[in-house]
Amino acid sequence: MSCIIAIAEQSDGKLKKVAGEVASEALRLGKSANLPVVGLAIGPGAAAAAAQLGAFGVANAIALEGATLAPYSGEAYAAALAAVVKARGAKLVLLGATSFARDLLGRLGALLDSSPAADCVAISANGAAFTARRPVYAGKALQSVAFAASPALASLRPNVFAATPSAGTTTSVETLAPAAPPAKCGRLVERVATGGGRIELTEAECIVAGGRGLKTPETFAKLLEPLAAALGAAVGASRAVVDAGWRPHGEQVGQTGKTVAPKLYFAVGISGAIQHLAGMRTSKTIVAINKDKEAPIFKVADYGIVGDVEEVLPALTEAVKKLKSGG
């Protein structure tokens, strides 16, 4: 019987946040396309993670676990996932648009002969025909894509689709052995955690980003990091300060950096160049702090303070601390 497959990203038996969003969207589409939803988890801990899909109302799931899946290999993972998708005759396959999907979506497209849509912000069903909406040109336009092949394949941008908790569903999990990997496989040899528990930019609900207006790497650290800490926010940066070597590449927000859409984005000492806006303009609320009241960033900001970072940031940090401590 045909179905919609929700690939549930997990790590060591724990579902990633985006898995709930993917499962909920799959169920919503399943209702309108009249197709059952099957959860699919892969890798060490897959069975335990798949069982947690009940929290979103997924009644049936498949777990792929086996020796060829540890250590991680994109080739082995893609082959195993594609085999299940084929065997189940899925009409639609969804996964979260994280680095997991960045390594797998294109491969699945080639293995299943269906060009996927990456980083979608909406999926609609007309019967079992699916259309995706996705940002292109760094969010300067939105494209609608109709899938002509089956299964349709799409990755969903995190934090865009609502995860809908559903009490009382028990997931029945079927554990399967993965299909054989292809002859040539890469494999993971080392994993080094970055930032000691720091919040990842693309997952953060709040981001404090700094630009050249912070003057030096030292003032960036001294003024901006405490505000981020007080807000429980991730730190972002403009390309100007990344290129100057003040901040690591991983913190760059923009067209050639990360695309983020947090609930709250602070642009501090950032002018608001079009390439920077491309990476953050879909944030829910944008705050700009800049000494130049003509700075383009004020055109996209919901709230702005015209002022010097040296004066505004310490005051803001203190006020946030007070607010968070219940003042």
Binding site: G74, T98, A118, A141, E190, K263, L316
Partner: protein, 249 residues
């Protein structure tokens, strides 16, 4: 070592997007096209690898005649050969593009194939991995560090909360991310040398799209915001607005 690099021609990052009359594509009037910024990292990396190990860099582009300008640019950076796979006016999705490129790449018998992380027009980030899969090569996307020793590539990429390093047997596909290197600018000697290099024409292998773009729209404008005040004195008003109005705190 034989390195093949795929490059695409895209609207420059400063382009203001206007929707064309067909309602599905961009109005190209006045649009300035450039080499996809991520593909510059790919070309640079190819050059660095052969500077270390010896060998040649071949650059491949599938696109309209105009893409020969970007190809010429990569030759001026130091690439040894270029192949232009001519595209007709039919739009191709990522997989159809990958099929065309896979055939052209296979003909170059590479040890290493480099792609940009994503083309900044369609923002898909898929073609490299598709080509690898079609050719049966191992692959790693979004690479910020690459070392090739003997028949193995050791490559690192940043994932949520970690840097992961993988080993891949050659030939393999790597897609390049910012941080991998600093692309060089072509110098006068390179530009002169590029004039003498030929761009080999090639015809596209037949490949049909399995998806189609049905509409292109501009996103809704953000409503004009407000300046809550000046200097530190504006902080209380900002926090009040964030808490009570935007419900963001």
């Amino acid at each position: 070592m034989k390195v093949t690099v795929c490059v695409k021609r895209v609207p420059s990052t400063t382009t203001r997007i206007k929707v064309a009359a067909d309602g599905k594509s961009i109005d190209e009037t006045g649009v300035e096209y450039v080499l996809n910024p991520y593909d510059e990292f790919a070309v640079e990396e190819g050059l660095r690898q052969v500077e270390k190990a010896g060998g040649e860099v071949t650059v491949v582009a599938f696109g309209p005649e105009a893409v020969t300008k970007e190809l010429r640019n990569t030759l001026a950076m130091g690439a040894h050969a270029a192949i232009h796979v001519a595209a007709d006016a039919t739009p191709r999705d990522a997989l159809a593009t990958a099929k065309v490129l896979a055939a052209a790449i296979a003909a170059t018998a590479p040890d290493l194939v480099l792609f940009g992380r994503q083309a900044i027009d369609g923002d898909q980030g898929q073609v490299g991995l598709m080509v690898a899969t079609l050719l049966g090569y191992a692959a790693l996307p979004d690479v910020v560090k690459l070392e090739v020793t003997g028949a193995t590539a050791k490559a690192s990429r940043e994932v949520e909360g970690a840097i992961e390093t993988s080993e891949l047997p050659l030939p393999c596909v790597i897609t390049t991310h910012k941080g991998l290197n600093e692309p060089r600018l072509p110098n006068m000697k390179g530009i002169m040398a590029a004039k003498k290099k030929t761009i080999a024409p090639a015809t596209a292998a037949p490949a049909a799209s399995t998806s189609s773009v049905t509409a292109l729209e501009l996103p809704p404008e953000r409503a004009a915001g407000k300046i809550v005040g000046e200097g530190a004195a504006a902080v209380p008003a900002l926090l009040k607005a964030l808490r009570d109005e935007a419900h963001a705190l």
